[in-house]
């Protein structure tokens, strides 16, 4: 049943020009950044040759590219998730789901998976660019995979937050704005200070990109993976509660 809902959601994205436009725009921007990064790397290559333990192409091209891709996901996800539940409420189609023999959990997970599969497609397309380098350069496979894992976990977190905020309002644009604001807040929350105090450590832990940075360096720590999984699970749980609440409030 989750699969049925996810499949409709995923196909529904491609029925609107929005998803295609977002795909095209992100690919174009990332490709442009990618070319600039490769150009810089070529200019540096001569000097790097003399260094011991010199950073390789993975560090100088792939990691910065993925850092930009994370930003792209931050901008793109709210636009993809804004309609997930708010549009169903506005158009009255939520009644179809609520009167069907499916649980709130199935509805939420179905919608989440639908949009997550789309976002993982975006991550896969991004991965194609560094993979193209394999023809002429030696890539660090481990770092590349860690980076891709990081992007996927970020996408999963963004989508969960977007889904929850989409359940709070019947206006997609409000959902998009709120999602963007919330994600940005989690992005810059560590800016309060880089000190060693409890508070700055706490805010540092909350920060979305900090955990991503470690993965970009090739460090797969369970602490970081757990952070993203908890982040997603929390918002999915809130969404399920919210959907049950909608039935109570009418």
């Amino acid at each position: 049943m989750i699969g049925v809902i996810a499949a409709r959601e995923w196909r529904g994205l491609f029925l609107s020009p929005l998803a295609w436009t977002l795909l095209a725009v992100t690919q174009a921007l990332l490709a442009w950044i990618f070319i600039i990064l490769i150009n810089d790397f070529q200019n540096l290559q001569g000097r790097l040759a003399g260094l011991e333990h010199a950073p390789g192409v993975t560090d100088l091209v792939v990691a910065p590219l993925f850092r930009v891709a994370a930003w792209a996901l931050l901008l793109l996800t709210p636009l993809l998730t804004m309609r997930l539940l708010s549009e169903e409420r506005r158009a009255g189609t939520l009644d179809l789901l609520l009167s069907a023999p499916v649980s709130a959990t199935q509805i939420v997970l179905g919608k989440y998976l639908g949009v997550l599969i789309f976002l993982l497609g975006v991550v896969a397309l991004t991965a194609l660019m560094p993979l193209a380098l394999m023809t002429g350069a030696a890539l660090d496979g481990g770092k590349l995979l860690a980076g891709l894992l990081g992007l996927s976990l970020l996408a999963a977190s963004f989508a969960a937050a977007g889904l929850y905020l989409s359940s709070l309002t019947a206006q997609p644009l409000i959902a998009a704005t709120a999602t963007f604001g919330l994600l940005l807040a989690f992005w810059i929350v560590d800016a309060v200070g880089a000190g060693q105090g409890i508070a700055s450590q706490f805010f540092g832990y909350l920060s979305l990109p900090r955990h991503h940075d470690a993965l970009l360096l090739g460090l797969v720590r369970s602490e970081d993976v757990a952070y993203y999984l908890l982040f997603s699970a929390a918002f999915l749980g809130l969404t399920i509660r919210r959907l049950d609440n909608l039935r109570l409030r009418g």
Binding site: A91, D95, S99, L248
Partner: protein, 334 residues
Amino acid sequence: MRIDDDNFHHTVRFMPMLAENVMIGEILVAVERLSRRYGETQAVDTVNFTLERGQVLGFLGLNGAGKSTTMRMLAGVLAPDAGRIVVNGADLLDQPRRAKQAVGYLPEQPPLYRELTVDEQLHYSARLHGLDRAASRQAMARVKERCGLTNVGRRLTGNLSKGYRQRVGIAQALLHDPPVLILDEPTVGLDPVQAREIRALIRALGQERGVILSTHLLPEVQATCSHVQIMRAGRLVFAGALAELQQRRQSTCVRIGLNAPPPVADLARLPTITRVEELGGGQFRLHHVADVALAPIVLDQARAGGWELWELTPEQASLEQIFVELTLEQETVA
């Protein structure tokens, strides 16, 4: 009354059989003390009723009387504040999936995804109700035939006229062949020909299922329903067979025409008269208590008083009058 699974099957075993597994009189929906408020307003107030297989139950009431709220609760879209709903032997709160599987629901606004074609919409709905691909294709062919949608399968639901959207909504409710159908204003937006077709369809469906429909149109109730429930301000003010409602139509008025009418006060003093309406042109409408033959009394009096009677017509109260009486009266009637 609690309907346990065991008791339930025990009671229906002796009911007359129409076809295999189809039993007239089997209780499909039992609603007990159902209540729901929206903030300060009591939208539905301790409503009790049952729906049996073979019944088409018409929900009547003014706007805001609580019809849609009741139907939304029956469909499981809205949670009740208090009360119990048992659908096809399954409690809607304890076994929501089993109960919902037994219900086909058409909300006030047909729940259609604008960007899907009719076929895609129906397929999705069928899959949501647990039909596999093959069963879904069969079910789609069946309901499209029944609802006159065979030619619009490839059109986007967003581009359909209101009447067709309504038909897709009804088709969608029929897909998983549920024993209970809940249709919120099923003929709204249909032209008279379509409305007639849909009413005939509902009557046919009601033969082997239980159907609940809401409407503002009294002729629709007369044309389709076997039972009627009238709601006012969240309460049921009448519940019974259509025939019972029609019994209330026994004439309680007589229209008379007089060339030399006496003062209205004299007419009002006639025995059993409750009210006199002056219609102008020497015509009056005399309201009298039920079960009294007024005509002989009026004839006698007219002869004695020299009123020159030229018309004497017993008038039947229309269903509409009964409806208005029931929905507007101050105290509860039923």
